[in-house]
């Protein structure tokens, strides 16, 4: 039973990272967000957000322990909006080479590799990358219709990461970011699945645009008729 007419978003809570800022950003964008680790609540929601900070292998183990691996694959296949953030983006991939080889969720074909440091505009590019960096539009593909709709080109977003994703199909990449010697995929889209390497809930007004776009694409459920 829905008590609210606002879209319901389930944030996957598997013990990795701070979910509170994600929840607050959802509320700010007009969504009703709850953190959950049960398949039932994930399946009942209008949209699912897979956040996360930490190590890839640990995260997959935590998802497996909660029996969420196949549930997340089913959600991705169901057409329901699924937003991956940071480690949540990396987990969507087939595999990662972080501290040994690990299988990912395999929702997107491709892998996860380590960011290399080096020099960046004459300064040391340290790893992890902690801070603000630009996201660039990929080729001629416009952001219209994606969750980046309305975000200014080359906008600054907040990143905290040591690894990045390499989708096999370059057509899935919607945004790229340059750091040190690398230009990596910072945003991708595969149908109903969208994912970003940065933290939109910590990226100021431009980041919040992504949450607003997610809210706009969800059906506001109809309030129950009040019987006298």
């Amino acid at each position: 039973m829905r008590r609210s007419s606002r879209p319901q978003v389930a944030i996957v809570d598997y013990g990795m990272g701070n979910l509170f800022s994600v929840k607050h950003a959802c509320a700010y964008a007009g969504m009703e967000a709850s953190t959950t680790s049960t398949a039932q609540e994930l399946l009942a929601a209008d949209a699912v957000i897979l956040p996360g900070v930490g190590a890839f292998g640990d995260a997959m183990a935590m998802l497996a322990r909660r029996d969420l691996v196949s549930v997340l694959r089913d959600i991705a296949a169901s057409g329901k909006p699924l937003l991956g953030i940071c480690l949540g983006l990396q987990l969507l991939m087939r595999e990662s080479s972080e501290f040994g080889r690990h299988d990912g969720l395999g929702i997107i074909d491709g892998d996860v590799v380590r960011l290399e440091g080096g020099r960046d505009h004459g300064r040391a590019a340290k790893v992890p990358q902690v801070g603000w960096n630009r996201i660039h539009r990929r080729g001629a593909q416009a952001w219209t219709g994606s969750l980046l709709d309305g975000v200014p080109e080359d906008a600054y977003m907040y990143f905290v990461h040591s690894f990045y994703v390499r989708p096999v199909d370059p057509g899935l990449v919607v945004a790229t970011t340059r750091y040190g010697p690398a230009e990596f995929c910072s945003g991708l889209r595969q149908g109903n699945v969208c994912a970003v390497q940065f933290h939109p809930e910590r990226s100021g007004p431009d980041g919040l645009t992504i949450y607003r776009n997610l809210a706009a694409r969800l059906p506001a459920s109809i309030p129950e008729v009040q019987h006298a």
């Binding site: 800022s21 700010y28 040391a124 590019a125 902690v130 600054y156 910590r202 100021g204 007004p205 919040l208």
Partner: protein
Amino acid sequence: MTIRMIARLDIKGPNLVKGIHLEGLRVLGTPEQFAKAYYEQGADELLYMDVVASLYGRNSLLDIVARTSREIFIPLTVGGGLRTLEDIQQALRAGADKVALNTAAIRNPTLVQDATTRFGSSTIVVSIEAIRKPDGHYEAYTDNGREPTGVDAFAWARQAAELGAGELLITSIDREGTGEGFDLELTRRIAEAVPIPVIACGGAGTAQHVADVIVHGKADAVCMASLLHYHLIKQDGKKRRAGLEAEGNLEYLKSRRGFSKIQGTSFPAIKAFLGTQGMICRQPAGETVHA
């Protein structure tokens, strides 16, 4: 590499305060109001430091953190009086993205390792508050600059990085609140000795000081307080005076005096100045911030 510009808000009870050498605290207003103003100006991060928690074990900070994190969507670091993994967990649950550890970490360096293992390196900032000694070495202090430890600041910085800290917050107590500029040697020697980002804190009085600590101090991020606070108060004094809750030393606000060494300025002005010096900062989009 984008240089991060951070607003530091020292908190005592419900109030934003500011001292000199971390002492003689003046009440300036409510932290949430200043935080919101800095977010709207284009601050890259916020740092809340509970300046009396280490002394009295008080942590009213969490309520302020919770209120702030509902309407401010940039990274928020919280420090002051966090002693255990449970304290850190509480700060994160209230909405902090990172925590800054000083007193408890220096007494028990294992805490840094335990905290980074449990919450991830990127969540743990080690705060080092140092005083330059006549022989040129730097000693780390705890309890917000009140207690000497005998620990060498550079050795402790290297150890903290090895224990897994994600960033170091380096405060010069000598310069803190003076507006005389950062301690460039302190910042540079630590930045060159560790592979993790270094945040410079203490002494910013002008935009040129900020540029100096980036170029000569090799800082990856810069913390500012007085030069932002006094500018905001000047711009918007009456409104803020009306909003503050009476606790502590209100004499400064009532007197309406200026603060001579500090040339008050704002995030857009500082970032524009750094841009003219060839430094890269995040320039927020032209859109207005939705309140």
